[in-house]
Symmetry: C2
Subunit: 302 residues, 2 copies
């Protein structure tokens, strides 16, 4: 039960901890010394000072989990790792990579005689205590190598992890999972905004969200988090109305277009995030100017 973990951010560090606490021997590395230091001295956790040291500390056939941002960070680490690995080693990419990239990576790895698992991981900062939901893609043999660790990471050994299908299926499932998350979050946010707009009805949004948690049809983990937020500070005066987006929402919308299968709510939730980032400002300016031209309506000066 030896595993390497590369990338000790919010997700990777706690996943390393969860496996180590459950009895696995974890060799961990991060480019950032502070991230490495944060795990130093924990039981069953060995800190490596580089990828070569990490690879050398693991017995073959190695299993290495990368928990890095998709794109250059993951690609860079893999490029450095590959020459250090041997036939039969298994690389598990737990980042939010685009499933098409993961398919290509699996092919490349298999051509070198190595195994690759694309792992969609959900659970956020609460995963350390509660466990992570794992969506795995790859050949049966590859997934089998990672299974003992999946059983430690999941909420329970027999649930919360799944071999979804061939290479790419894990990251595809995670992509769709996050697309659904975009739509759900937007639905809650719109509803609470409508409630907040009716000052005359005197809603205590934190208490209402808390009430919905018990017995209602809309109860969910995202509602649990919304209730926490609204109980702490319903007005959120210090928060700018800007919502970031990461790859999965965009990829889900692209997939809907590629398949010709409508996903209007997921896509709309994504577009609403773009708007929040100021990306509707040009169209809004143009709309205001058109109204001036045809109706002499005043514009709001910038």
């Amino acid at each position: 039960m030896d595993i390497g973990v590369v990338g000790l951010g919010r997700m990777g560090a706690n996943m390393a901890r969860r496996m180590a606490r459950a009895g696995a021997r974890v060799v961990a590395f991060d480019l950032d010394a502070a991230a490495r230091g944060a795990l130093a001295g924990e039981r069953n956790l060995q800190i490596a000072e580089g990828l070569a040291a990490l690879a050398a500390s693991l017995p073959g056939e190695r299993v290495i989990l990368t928990m890095l941002p998709a794109g250059p960070a993951t690609a860079g680490a893999l490029a450095e790792l590959l020459p250090l690995l041997s036939t039969g080693d298994t690389l598990v990419d737990g980042g939010n990579a685009y499933y098409r990239d993961s398919m290509a990576r699996a092919l490349e790895m298999s051509q070198r005689g190595m195994r690759y698992v694309d792992a969609g991981v959900s659970g956020g900062v609460h995963g350390l205590a509660g466990g992570y939901c794992l969506m795995l893609g790859g050949t049966p043999k590859s997934v089998e190598r990672f299974e003992p660790f999946a059983r430690l990471l999941a909420p329970a050994p027999d649930r919360g992890w799944l071999h979804c299908g061939p290479s790419g299926a894990g990251h595809f499932a995670k992509m769709i999972h996050n697309g659904i998350e975009y739509g759900m979050m937007q639905a809650y946010a719109e509803g609470f905004a409508l409630l907040a707009a009716r000052k005359d009805l005197e809603f205590d949004l934190g208490r209402l969200a808390e009430t919905w948690r018990h017995g209602s049809v809309v109860r969910s983990w995202l509602l649990d988090l919304s209730a926490e937020v609204l109980k702490e500070d319903e007005d959120m005066a210090g928060v700018a109305p800007v919502v970031a987006d990461s790859g999965e929402g965009r990829w889900t919308a692209l997939e809907a277009v590629a398949l010709g299968v409508p996903a209007p709510v997921i896509t709309m939730a994504l577009m609403a995030r773009f708007s929040s980032q100021g990306k509707s400002d040009y169209s809004r300016k143009l709309l205001a100017m058109m109204r001036t031209k045809f109706g002499g309506h005043a514009i709001t000066k910038a």
Copy 2:
């Protein structure tokens, strides 16, 4: 602890049962003899043969809960009930009434010296065992009269029920609750449709939904139900792709327009239901014909 329950459909019958099993004395009536018969002989449950008998069986100050479809059914029952009630009696409307109607009804009742509570009720057919989520609107005195019963109906005496605000606030909260539900349901449905479209990735949707229930960000009660559906019959070959809508989705969209507060995802989910009902067919025909006119593109014959 005496209460009258008018309307013994899926919701009303089980709410009557839950209160009776918890020790309240329930006098129940439904226009349908079979609905009355279904509750006959249960402990603490007395069946009334009419509204007059129901009113006569309750000690004053009476508390009567109506669990009827919003609109004519509720209006008709209230019109028949009102002459049978006395000063100090409390009427609790647990149907999905439009909150503006509930506000008017509360005013009318108060002018007659009677109390009115608008109660949004969520929980569906699972409420009997698990309890109902209750959103209550009305004066403090009115809600106080119903509180002992709310504590029996809710999942626990101290949670899952809330005095939301003045008259109308209960049904307003339930309206928004259902609007959010529309958006959430559509988000899940779109996500699973995209997964289903990728036959090459070999997803077992029931197992994937089950996996997401444990540790993932999108876990929810609606996901629990989706997992049940998909495990039973992922293809749903016997189900027509038609989704009904009831009042709340429409009212939520109307409220967004009245307030000028965007609710694009909730509104889109509503529009998607209209489309499923064939209400986009005319625009689709016209689109197909436009393509014929400008590009000579073939149409699909009806």
